[in-house]
Amino acid sequence: MIEAKGLTKFFGDYPAIEDVSFRAEPGEVVGFLGPNGAGKTTTMRILTGYTPPTSGTASIAGHDIQTQSLEARRAIGYLPETVPLYLDMTVRQYLSYMGALRGLSKQRIRSRIDDMFGLCRLEEYTDSLIGKLSKGYRQRVGIAQALLHEPPVLILDEPTIGIDPRQVVETRQIIRGLGGEHTVFLSSHILGEVSQVCDRVMIIHEGRIAAMDKAENLSESLGGTTRIILEVRGGTQNEITRILAGVPGVQSVEADESSGELSFIVECEPTQDLRAELARRIIERGWGLVDMHTAGLSLEEVFLRLTASQEEEDSASAEPEPA
């Protein structure tokens, strides 16, 4: 459905992306994960025909994005990162304009708009001016616009950025439900999001594809630890470290004084929740537990771990196979 081969884009001398190649099969939800500035938006803008690549080719539903641009664009629903909307239009006016731009008939526009109001839960705001909607609702209008013409391919650029957590959950549910019927290509800089929503994840770093794998394999290759951060008053650093490390299931403990308070980063197996046990041990000793929270890996760390495991795999597969 989406096929990219060697996409490269230079802005002046600066390569925003280099040699990006991948495929997304029909019905698949593919996540595009990378920190800010990695080149996600640039890649998506090339696929949607907004900007031409410096070199490389891509096709959408079998249509080359450069030589058959209109056909390719017809097959795409696109939610740009900026969620562009006409603020002086009502939701209904906006959607019917977008439908007309995609060449839908009047009746089809009407029935599809009603479908979209239901799917994106916009029923209460059908005739509100878009300029008066909250960010989360604008995001839904953006998604509705992308889905309106039932495109086989959906390209969503950071669809959950800047909206409140409850709406993030709803938006993810909507996207998850789109797989199967649509090929979805979605970008994000949140690891948890792509691993929840996507079948397959592609990681981009500094304009290059760093890893590409099934979502579940990805969490495995990340070593599968969760980390708990504790802030403790009383006791020496060594003592506390020793006590925490003695809890079964803890893999490593690291002290961190960078924030002024003494805190400990505890890595543990994700299969069990050690928070209660850790707290008990601290309090038993008469120390004060000031703060405790779990934290995910930063994208930087994810990237490091992934490339490390990738190299291991590469060297493993480089061994000569028995003939």
Binding site: R45, T48, G49, Y50, T51, P52, L70, E71, R73, R74, I76, Y78, P80, T82, V83, P84, L85, Y86, L87, D88, Q93, Y97, M98, A100, L101, R102, G103, Q145
Partner: protein, 244 residues
């Protein structure tokens, strides 16, 4: 070119015009000031039973078209660039040229609507006097043709930037240059190639004959090709913006 695509853009832009005060204000000022010119011309010591009175002069229709078209057109592309909706337009399955043409037609339609508000001047002339009809028709043809050039230039200005004020100022500069070209030409050597060329570009010279009822195909070709030229350039600029 797909007519439906053009029509979609056209209708959307017209709706936007009617939902903002700018078009109403422009039309009101235009009708007011041209009415003032018209009244002066029929009140003068040697009243002419022609529409020339409301066309020429500092508050005449021609000069007002120069001054006011940029305000009418500045929004068309600059706002899309600012809102980011340009990304939607340029990834929709329609051609860049269809977008340009649709927007052009919308502003041009507004301009025609504004011109139609002045039709009571010739009606008054016919009611109270006995004017020649042909010069009135050709004068309006000149106004319409000039309007199309002005809108095309305004659209070009708007495609260059995401700042509406910059768009308006750039378009105004180009329009004034074309308007004043015949005056500029008088500063040079008569007979030199440059002076002839500048005179040829001048809006003024091509309009004069039309207001006297002289329909010269060269004048018509001039206005139409200038419009086509600016629309073509606008199309290319929209295409080039994709590279940034």
């Amino acid at each position: 070119m797909n007519v439906r695509h053009i029509q979609t853009i056209w209708m959307k832009e017209i709706r936007t015009y009617f939902s903002s005060p700018i078009a109403y204000v422009i039309a009101a000022v235009f009708v007011g000031l041209t009415g003032f010119s018209f009244a002066l011309s029929v009140e003068s010591r040697f009243p002419e039973a022609t529409v020339r009175g409301f066309l020429f002069g500092p508050t005449g229709a021609f000069f007002l078209v120069i001054l006011m078209t940029p305000a009418l057109t500045m929004r068309l592309f600059a706002e899309e660039a600012k809102l980011g909706t340009m990304e939607l337009l340029l990834t929709a399955p329609i051609r860049d040229s269809e977008i340009v043409l649709g927007k052009f037609l919308a502003a041009f339609t507004m301009m025609l609507a504004m011109f139609s508000l002045t039709l009571y001047f010739p009606l008054l002339l016919i009611w109270f006097g006995d004017p020649e009809i042909l010069p009135i028709l050709t004068a309006y043809a000149g106004l319409v043709l000039m309007g199309s050039v002005a809108v095309a230039i305004g659209l070009l200005g708007s495609s260059l930037t995401s700042n509406q004020i910059v768009a308006a100022v750039v378009s105004l500069a180009v329009l004034l240059l074309l308007w004043l070209a015949s005056f500029v030409a008088t500063l040079g050597d008569p007979g030199s190639l440059w002076v002839d060329f500048i005179r040829f570009l001048s809006l003024n010279d091509h309009l004069r004959d039309l207001t006297f009822g002289i329909l010269d195909s060269r004048d018509i070709v001039y206005f139409l090709s200038l419009t086509a030229f600016f629309l073509f350039i606008t199309s290319r600029i929209v295409e080039m913006r994709r590279w940034r």
